[in-house]
């Protein structure tokens, strides 16, 4: 199912994230895919997703207001590559 900001998500349990100066590297131990998270707030957002009732609330808490759309697109991509999953 495609990404919907009103729904709750979490970092996929098989994903590990390594922080880097540009953001982070996410590795999925199941599908062996490496994904680049190209901004430090995106790393924070992905790590925190599971603690919020919806992705939108997590974005509100971690991302400057003007950047909301970009981060929604980023999460949609991360859902496709299974870095995050619905819960």
């Amino acid at each position: 199912m495609s990404f919907q900001p009103a729904r709750p998500y979490e970092k996929h349990p098989k994903v590990a994230i390594r922080r880097e100066s540009f953001g982070g590297l996410a590795y999925h131990y199941g599908n062996r895919r490496l994904t680049f998270l190209k901004a430090p707030p995106l790393v924070e957002l992905v790590e925190a997703l599971g603690g919020f009732a919806s992705a939108a609330e997590a974005i509100d808490a971690h991302v400057p207001a003007g950047r909301r759309a970009a981060y929604e697109r980023a999460l949609a991509g991360l859902l496709d590559s299974e870095v995050i999953r619905a819960r």
């Binding site: 590990a16 131990y29 680049f36 697109r73 991509g77």
Partner: protein, 391 residues
């Protein structure tokens, strides 16, 4: 490798060229011992080195990789399965969250071992094969190596290992077999992995005969564009100068995003430059691997902006970044000039110019390394070059 928006500035390629806190992709050669003697072996393997890391030292390397959050390690050799602690070590790595991809010639991959591998999570297997028939393969990898590799594939299939990889070094002799390699991989439900031949190790002695021609390089480039799901380790980025970029990271990652740990614990900038000039340190040094990666003089230097040198005026430089450092080094070309296989022919011209110089030309040689017998005398050692092509 997929990248996600939002885009950060500067570009990821720029970021990567300045290095990361830990390598993305680390190759670890477990032993120089090998029961084959492939003529293009990058590490000139054959005999075990008495100084190789002990099982305890090898586990300590895994601990460091775990602490640095290196997600997976590419294990090779030599033939890694020769190490008596092979299964213990990969089991230990997997338990510590360091995934293992290992390359093997398949000779030791018995039905029992295939079943054992099938029972492990986070272990990928790559069987090396350099021809789709025994003639082409065995000319490079030695008599019996084709049937041994096929037997290993059969054993993995019978054990229901799942999707293993068939790993091919593309040569002048096998480039016409790309479709056949693909069909072979498909027949096993395997993935095809193609990598570039380097003039490294024993490959220094055979590169002239084995490296693809310019026409073959163009054929390979089109084939890779038509088959984007083929794994390449991003090793053909020099071909991106032909137009559309190939998928993956189009840059030399040496010391920036990749490196090599050799069987005795020495750390080199990449798997293709086992030479003192590109040795950054040792995992046995006081600060261990982490300090070699983060602080060594060599890696710090490699992360500085690099000069495009003779390639600065070429419109393709952004696409190919001057190509492969190791290929230049072991053919005697300057590191800030064209790759010997430059698709525009600048490398061939540079090699020809090297051959026409009257003064002595020093072509660095990787040495015979751990080869079991003396290497084939082909004259790539330091020589006095006079006229004509390189000696």
């Amino acid at each position: 490798m997929p990248a996600e928006s939002p885009a950060a500035t500067p570009s990821l390629t720029d970021r990567f060229s300045h290095g990361l806190d830990a390598p993305i992709c680390l190759t670890w050669e477990l032993t120089y011992a090998c029961n084959l003697a492939c003529v293009h072996c990058l590490s000139s393997s054959g005999r075990r080195d008495p100084r190789e890391l002990s099982p305890e030292e090898a586990r300590a390397v895994v601990d460091e990789l775990h602490d640095m959050q290196v997600f997976y390690v590419n294990i090779g050799g030599g033939e890694p399965m020769i190490r008596p602690d092979f299964f213990d070590l990969i089991g230990y790595a997997v338990d510590r969250g360091v995934g293992v991809k290992f390359s093997t010639n398949g000779t030791m991959l018995t039905p029992e071992r295939a079943r054992r591998l099938a029972g492990m999570d986070y272990v990928d297997v790559q069987i090396s094969l350099d021809g789709t028939d025994a003639d082409v393969n065995d000319a490079v990898r030695g008599p019996g190596s084709y049937s041994a590799a096929r037997r290993a594939m059969d054993n993995l299939a019978a054990a229901e290992f799942g999707q293993f990889k068939i790993s091919v070094v593309v040569t002048r002799q096998n480039v016409s077999q790309l479709d056949a390699f693909r069909a072979l991989a498909d027949s096993y439900g395997a993935q095809l992995r193609l990598t570039r031949l380097r003039p490294s190790g024993r490959g220094a002695d055979t590169w002239d005969e084995l490296h693809p021609t310019q026409a073959q390089q163009r054929e390979l480039y089109r084939w890779l564009l038509d088959h984007p799901d083929t794994l390449t380790g991003d090793s053909f980025f020099h071909l991106s100068a032909l137009g559309e970029s190939l998928p993956g990271l189009n840059l030399c990652g040496a010391g920036r995003v990749v490196c090599l740990i050799d069987p005795v614990g020495d750390v080199y900038a990449c798997p293709f430059v086992l030479h003192e000039q590109f040795r950054a340190g040792s995992v046995r040094d006081p600060g261990g691997f982490a300090s070699v990666w983060r602080e060594s003089e060599l890696f710090t230097e490699l992360r500085e902006p690099q000069s495009a040198g003779a390639c600065a005026s070429c419109g393709s430089y952004d696409a190919c970044q001057g190509g492969c450092m190791a290929s230049k080094f072991f053919t005697g070309l300057p590191l800030d000039g064209p790759d010997p296989e430059c698709v525009h022919g600048h490398g061939e011209a540079a090699l020809a110019a090297l051959g026409e110089r009257l003064e002595p030309v020093m072509v660095p040689h990787p040495g015979s390394g751990h080869s079991k017998t003396g290497r084939r005398p082909t004259g790539r050692e330091p020589v006095f070059v006079t006229l004509g092509r390189r000696a």
